[in-house]
Symmetry: C2
Subunit: 214 residues, 2 copies
DNA sequence: GGTGCGTTAAAAGTATACTATTTGAATCCG
DNA sequence: CGGATTCAAATAGTATACTTTTAACGCACC
C-alpha cells in the first residue's frame, strides 16, 4: 500500500529538487511529462504543481510551470521579509535547539569551511545549515512563512557565491550564528542574523552592480 | 467564453463564504456535493478546496473539508507572526495610500461604527477595512505572507466579537489606525497596529478564560 | 452493557479522455 | 522583404469513471 498519496510524494520530490536548485530558471515543468517519467497520471502531478505555486516555489505560465521571475525588486522584497522574520526566529531557536541540532549545524558548517574552491560544496553546507535551524523553529506558522521563500534565498545565494567577498561574509556570518546557537544566546543570534541578512543583501547588490548577476 | 476558470470562480466564491462566517465549524464541504450544486464536475471544486487548504482557510479531513482546528497554540503562533509583519506593513501603507484607499477605509469604518447590535455587519466592516490596507501593501511578498493567515484572523475576530469589550477595542483600534493612515504617519500606524494586535490577543485570551470561545 | 470485528457506504484519490486556449510558426498577401 | 493571418502543436482545464481508503454502523461475542 502507498503510505502517502502520489500527490504528496511528487510534491515533496519536486520541492526538494527546487530547494536544491536543480531546476534551471528557463526550465518548464509540464504535468504530463513528469507524469510519464514517474509512471502516474497527470492529475496528482498537476495538483502537486499547483500546490507548489500557492507555496511560492513555482509560477504558473501558459506554457508550463517555471521558477518565479526573480527580479531585483522581488528579491529586495524578500530581504525585507527576511529581516522581519528570521531574527526573531533564530532567537527562539537559540533557546530551543537540541544537542542533535548543534551537531548537525557543526557538520554543515564544517562542510562549508572545508569546501575550498568548490562552489557547490560551500553552497550545500550553507543550505544544510539553514535547513537545520529553520526546521528547529517551534512556531509552525512562522516556520512555514520562512520556508515559503527559502527557495528564492538559495537561488540568490547560489548566484552570489562566486564572489570571494560574498563567500567570506557568508562563512563568518554562519560561524557567528553558530556560536550564538551553541551559547543559547537568543539576543546574540537575533543580532547576528540581522547583520547576516544585511551583508547578504549588500553582496547581492554588489553582484548586480558589477554585472556578476544577470 | 468563461473569462476565468471554474476553479478560480469556485475558489473565490467559497473563500468569500468562509470569510463571511457562513460555514459552521462542524460543517463538511464535499467536492461532489458542491460540484452538483454548481453544475460542474468534481475536479475544479476539488482543486479549489485544496487551494483553500494551502491558504489556511480549510483543513482536509478524511471525511470532507472543514474549518481548521484553531487550537489556542496555533492562534498564538499567528499572533506572533502578525506582530512581526503587520506593523511594518501598515507603516508602508501610511506612506503609499491613495485617496481612493482612504475613502474605502472610511466607508468600511462607517459600516463598522454604524452596525449597532448586528455582529455580521460589524465584522464585515472590520474585514473590509483589513482587506483594503492589505491590498495597499506595496511589497508583494509581504502582502502574500499576510494574506496567507488572514482567514484565521477573520475566524478569530468573528469568535470574539460577541464580547462588547473586544468589539469596542477593535473599533477604537481601527479608528486610530485610520487616523494614522489619513495623516500619512508611518510611525504612528506602526505603533497603533502593534497595540491593536496586542489588544486583539488579549480579547481572545479573555474569551478563552470566560468560556465564550470553545 | 461493553468490546472487538467485519461489513458497507462515503469520500478521497487516480486514471483516462475530451475540450479549450495559447503560442509559435508557416504561409500568404501586400 | 515585411507584416498579418491562419493553422497546428502543446498545454491548461474539465468531465467522467474507476479504485482505494476510511470511519461509521451493526453484529456477535464476551
Amino acid at each position: 500500500m502507498t503510505r502517502t498519496s502520489h500527490r504528496i510524494r511528487i510534491h515533496d520530490s519536486l520541492r526538494s529538487r527546487l530547494i536544491r536548485g536543480e531546476i534551471a530558471p528557463q526550465m518548464r515543468l509540464v504535468d504530463h511529462a513528469i507524469a510519464a517519467e514517474m509512471g502516474v497520471s497527470r492529475m496528482p502531478v498537476r495538483e502537486a504543481l499547483m500546490q507548489l505555486v500557492s507555496e511560492g516555489y513555482l509560477e504558473s505560465t501558459s506554457r508550463g510551470f517555471a521558477l518565479p521571475n526573480l527580479t531585483p525588486d522581488r528579491i529586495a522584497e524578500v530581504f525585507v521579509l527576511r529581516r522581519l522574520l528570521e531574527p526573531h526566529a533564530v532567537a527562539g531557536v537559540a533557546r530551543d535547539r537540541t544537542e542533535a541540532d548543534l551537531a548537525a549545524m557543526q557538520a554543515a558548517l564544517a562542510e562549508a569551511e572545508g569546501a575550498g574552491p568548490d562552489v557547490t560544496g560551500f553552497h550545500r553546507g550553507a543550505e544544510a545549515f539553514r535547513n537545520i535551524w529553520v526546521q528547529a523553529v517551534r512556531n509552525g506558522e512562522l516556520r512555514q512563512s520562512i520556508q515559503r521563500y527559502s527557495g528564492q534565498v538559495q537561488s540568490v545565494r547560489f548566484a552570489t557565491l562566486t564572489d570571494p567577498l560574498a563567500r567570506a561574509a557568508t562563512l563568518s556570518g554562519l560561524q557567528a550564528l553558530f556560536k550564538a546557537f551553541r551559547a543559547g544566546d537568543g539576543l546574540a543570534a537575533q543580532d547576528r542574523m540581522l547583520r547576516f541578512i544585511y551583508d547578504a543583501e549588500e553582496s547581492y547588490r554588489r553582484g548586480l552592480a558589477t554585472g556578476l548577476i544577470a
